[in-house]
Symmetry: D2
Subunit: 328 residues, 4 copies
C-alpha cells in the first residue's frame, strides 16, 4: 500500500426528526453538539478534536449515506482513487467546500456495495476531554468502528486486508473454514471495521468507545429514566470475541449504536488473529445471554454513492449458517 | 411487639457435593470460609463479624433446612415462643450447643409454611472488611435478605407487619388491590424478607449485598472465566422496584443467590411504601429485559422444622396472575 | 431511654452568598434544590424523601445555626425536653410553622455547647433516586453524619451513649485510655455523629453518603473542571478507622463537607466497638497520606440556640495531644 | 525514517531480592509471572501476548539495565544501527540466543545517556485477558511508557521526533519557550516515552496501563492491606497534562511504577501538541494536590550499555527551574 488510512472517521446518517435524534444522542448519550441547522446536526465525542464523527441529516426515510475513514493526507486520496479505478469500483470526488467542515473527499462503493468515503482534513474544534462538568449519560468518548453486514465476508476480508492495509485481530470460522465474520483494524485497536455474514450490504452498527464500564451502566439507568427502555436492544454484556463490554442501542430511527469498552492493543505484527468457531460456546456472549433476533435480522440500508437517492439493493449471504447457536 | 428482630441472619442449605459448592461460593464469589468439616461448610461475607451467614450441609437432595433471623437477646426468644404458641404454630427449641457456633435457637414453621429460626447469639470472628488482599470474585460483603414464594402473600404480609414488627418499603398490587408481592424490613434497608405470589412455600433466593456495581460486573467475568456461564440466570440489570442493581445466580444445586447493590435507607416512619401495579411497565426490569421463565417457576424446596427429613408440600397461589407482563 | 432518635436529619448553615453556594452544592456536587428564596436555599440528596437535609441561610458571616436529628414522633420531643431540663441544659421550643417545611422542633445547647435540634416531621417530597437523568457531579445520595470538635470527648461520649441512646462503633484511645475521638450511631451505620478532641465546640464537617466510589472520583474531576480545585482539601483516600472512602471539601464559606462511601452495617448488639490507638499507624489514612494542617485546625463556629446572633465561645481541649502522628 | 518503532516494549531492572520483588509485583499488583529462575523473574500484564514486559534481575544494587522498544522487523534494527553509528552513539549487538525469549537486539546509549534496546522478536505466550479468575490487585494490563529525567529535554526531543519518528502529544514550556518536559509517542496513545528536565540520565518511572479507575483504587486498598503503605508515593490523582488518572508507587528497590488510566487517541496528524506553561496552575495535578519532593528528586540510576557494571554519571539539567510551582 502506498497510502495510509488512519482510522474510522465519521458516519453520515439520514434521520426523520432531528430534534428527536438530538434528544437521544445529546441529552441521553452525552454526545457534544458541535453545531446544527435545520437540516443537519454535527456530533462528536468528549475527546474528539475533529468537528464531528456523526452527522445526522434530515430525510424522509432513515438510511446510511456514507461511512468515512480518515487518511493521512490528501495525496492518499489520489492513490486510493487509482486503486479503486483499477478495481473497477464506482467513485465520486467531492471537492473541498462541498461538505461542511470536511476537506476534499473521495467516495466509493466498495466490493461489498458499502458506501465509503475517505478524507484527510476535518476542522479542528475544542476537545472536551477535561470538561468533566459537561459529562453526562454514556459520556461517549470517540468513534471506534463500523460493523457491516455483507453477503460475502471473505471477499470483503480479502479486499480490506490485501488492498487497503487492514490487519485482522479476530475472526469467526464457519463451514469449511470459511470466514463468517472478521474484525479488521488500521489503528491498533480490535477494529475499525467488522464484517458479518448476512443480508447485505447494510450497516449493522457504529461503535463508540467509552472510557470505563461504569459509564455504560450509568447510560442504561439514564436511558431508562428518560423513557428509552425500548431503545436498549442488547446488553450490557461481555463479548468473548474482542473482549468488548457492550451495550447495543437503537436510535429513534432504528440505527444501531454500540457503546463499547474493553479493547486491547493490537500494534504488534506477531499478534496472531484469534480464531473462533461459529458454534463454539466460548465465542458466545461471554456471560451466556442470548442475543435477540432483531440483532441478527435488522440493520440500516445504505445509499448508492453515485445516486444517493437510491438505496443499495441487498441480497442473500453466501454462507448458509445465518446465525450461530451462540452469538456475538 | 415486645421483642426485637434485628435482621436477616443466616440460611442453612442442603447441598449434594460440598467441594463443588465451595468452588462456587469461595473461589468464584469470594465468600470467606470460616470453617468446614466433612458434613458442613460455614461461609460469611467480607464485613461479617458473626461466624457465618450461610451454612451448607451435605445431603442426598438439595433443600432449605431453615432461614434464620437474629434477635436482640435471648429474652426475645421467649416472647416469640409465646406469640407462635398463641398463634398455634409448630415450634422447636434447639438449646445452646445443639448447633455449632450458634446460641439457643427457636425454630418455627411460619404462617406460609416456611421454616424459620431465631437466635440472639452467634460466635464472633475476625471481620475481613479491610483485608482487601483477600477480596475476589463478587467480593460478597454481607447477607441482606430472603425472598420467598408463598401461596398467600397477604397472609404473610399481615403476620410479618402486624405480629413480627416488619415495615413495608415497596409492594406490588394485583387484581382488586390484592398484594402480589411485598418487600419487608427490620433493619432500615429495602428488605430483610420479600414475599412473592407463587407455588409455595419455597425459598426463591438469598440476597447478598455488594459494596458497588463494579464488583457485580467483575463477578460476571470471573464466573464466565471459571466455566459458570450457565449459573448466570438473570442480569446484570436494574430493578425498578427497590432500585436493586442485580445478578441472579444458580448455585451448583440450583439454589438461587442474588448479588445486590443499590439499596436506600428506610429508617423513617413517614416513608410511605411504594406501590407498583403488577402490569405497570414502570416496575419492570428498569432497563427493559425480560426475566427467563426459570426465574418464575423454579425455587428451592423447604423442610419441616419438626421433621427435617420431610419437605414441605407446596400448593397453588391464591392470586390468579402468576407472572406479570413485566417482571421484577 | 423512652425516646427514639432515628438519624442525622439536617444542618442549617449560614453562608454569605446564596448564588455562590448554589453553584457549589447544586451544579458541582449534584444536590437537588427543593426550593429557594432570597434568604434560603433548601437542598437534598437524590434518595431523600424529606424536604431538605441542608438549609443554607444568607448571613453576614458563616456559622452553623444548628445540627438536627430526626425522632420517631412528637412525643419523643417531650421526653427529650424532660431529659434536657433535668440535666440543666438550655432549651428552646419552635412550634410548627416557625420553620418552613419542618414540624415542631426542640432545640438545645448540648453538654459540649453544640446547638442541636430534634424534630419528628418534615414535609415529604419526590425522591429522585431513579431520576438518573438528573444525576450529576458527586451524585450526593443522602446526609449521613456530623463530625464535631469538642473540648471533652469523654463527656460527650457519656452523654450520647448513656442518655441519648447512641451506640459506639469505633473510637480512638489517647493517653491513659482516654477517648480522643468516638464514632456514635443511631441508625445502623458507622455513625450519625463523631466527636474529636479539639478546640470547640465547632462543627468539623457534615458527611454525605455516595452510592459508589466512582461518583467520588468523578466529583474530583467535575470540581476541578469547574475551578474548585482549592476547595478540595483532602483525599480521595481511605480511612482505616470506619473504612470510609472519603473526600473532604470546603464550601465557598469554608464549611467542610465530606463525601463518603464504604460504610458497614452496625445493627448487632454483639458488635464490639473497634479500638484504635491514637498513634497506631494502622489507624492512619489507610493509604498513608498525611492530612493537611487545615483539616485539624479549622472548623465552623456554632451559634447559641437561645441567642442565634451570638456564636459559642470555644476553648482548649482537655487532652494534650492535639494531633496524632497519623491522622484520621 | 526508514524504520518502524512500534511501541514501548520492556524494561530490565536490577533488584536486590527477587522474592521481595515478586511479592510486590505479582501478589500485590497482579502481574503475571511468565517464568522465573534464581537470577530472573519475567513479568507481563494481563493482556500481553509477549513473554514479558518487565524483567527483574538479581543484583547487588538496584539500577536500570535497559529500557526497550519493539520494532516492526529485524531489518529495522540494521537501519537503526546505521542511524546511531552515523550519530556517533555507542551501540552493542546482542545476537538471538543471548537474551532469553528475546530475538536479536540492538542496544545504544542515546543522546541523553539513556540505555536503550530495540528488538523485533519476543516469544509469544498465552494472553490472560479473559482469565478474569486470575485478576488481582491492580489488574495490570500492559506496559505503556517510560518517563526519563534528562539534562537537556530539547536535545532528547529533537532526536526522538526528528530521527526516531516519535510524535509529540503534549509538552511543558519553561523560560524562553524552552521545552521543560515532553510526551512523545509511536503507538497512538499520549506517550511511549516522556522526558523531564532534571538530574540525569535517570529513569523516573515505568508506566503500566490499567483498564479502569476502580482497579487503581482497589490497588491502593490491596497495597495498604498488605503493608505497602509506604510504597504509595503519590496519588491517586488526575494529571491535567495527559489526563492520566495516576498512582505512583515505589517498588521494594525504589524503582518507580506508575499505574495509569485515562489516555486518549493520538492517531491524527492534525492533532496539535498541547502546550502547558510550567507555572500555569491548569497543568498542575488537576485536583490540586502537591507532589512530594521525592517525586522530583528521586529516580533510578541507569547502566552503560557497553559496560553494564558501570552506572551512567548524572549531571545538572540545563534549565534552571527544577520544579514548577504546580507539578505534573
Amino acid at each position: 500500500m502506498d497510502f495510509n488510512i488512519i482510522r474510522t472517521g465519521r458516519a453520515v446518517l439520514n434521520v426523520k426528526d432531528l430534534e428527536r435524534s438530538k434528544a437521544f444522542y445529546v441529552d441521553a448519550l452525552g454526545f457534544i453538539e458541535t453545531e446544527a441547522d435545520d437540516r443537519h446536526v454535527y456530533l462528536r465525542g468528549l475527546e474528539e478534536h475533529n468537528h464531528h464523527s456523526l452527522l445526522l441529516k434530515k430525510a424522509e426515510e432513515p438510511s446510511v449515506e456514507v461511512i468515512g475513514y480518515k487518511v493521512y493526507d490528501d495525496t492518499d486520496l489520489e492513490r486510493l482513487d487509482r486503486l479503486f479505478s483499477q478495481k473497477g469500483l464506482e467513485i465520486r470526488w467531492m471537492e473541498r467546500g462541498t461538505q461542511h467542515a470536511v476537506g476534499r473527499t473521495l467516495r466509493v462503493q466498495d466490493v461489498s456495495g458499502l458506501p465509503l468515503e475517505f478524507y484527510a482534513e476535518m476542522e479542528t474544534v475544542e476537545r472536551m476531554l477535561q470538561r468533566y462538568d459537561l459529562y453526562k449519560g454514556a459520556r461517549v468518548q470517540r468513534i471506534d468502528h463500523f460493523n457491516c453486514m455483507v453477503r460475502d465476508v471473505e471477499k470483503a476480508y480479502e479486499f480490506y486486508t490485501k488492498e487497503l492495509g487492514f490487519a485482522c485481530s479476530e475472526y469467526t470460522a464457519a463451514e469449511d473454514e470459511k470466514i463468517w465474520a472478521a474484525w479488521l483494524h488500521r489503528k491498533p485497536s480490535v477494529h475499525d471495521v467488522a464484517f458479518m455474514n448476512g443480508n447485505g450490504p447494510r450497516l449493522h452498527h457504529i461503535g463508540y468507545w467509552l472510557s470505563d464500564q461504569m459509564s455504560l451502566i450509568h447510560a442504561c439507568d439514564v436511558l431508562a429514566a428518560m423513557g428509552y427502555t425500548e431503545n436498549i436492544e442488547r446488553g450490557p454484556g461481555r463479548h468473548g470475541l474482542s473482549n468488548a463490554f457492550f451495550l447495543y442501542l437503537r436510535d429513534p430511527d432504528g440505527h444501531r449504536i454500540e457503546l463499547y469498552n474493553g479493547d486491547y492493543l493490537t500494534s504488534d505484527p506477531d499478534f496472531k488473529p484469534v480464531r473462533w468457531d461459529i458454534n463454539d460456546p466460548r465465542r458466545q456472549t461471554f456471560w451466556g445471554h442470548a442475543a435477540p433476533d432483531s440483532w441478527f435480522n435488522e440493520a440500516s440500508a445504505v445509499q448508492n454513492v453515485l445516486a444517493p437517492e437510491k438505496l443499495m439493493e441487498t441480497g442473500e449471504p453466501t454462507l448458509k449458517q445465518r446465525k450461530p447457536t451462540f452469538v456475538i
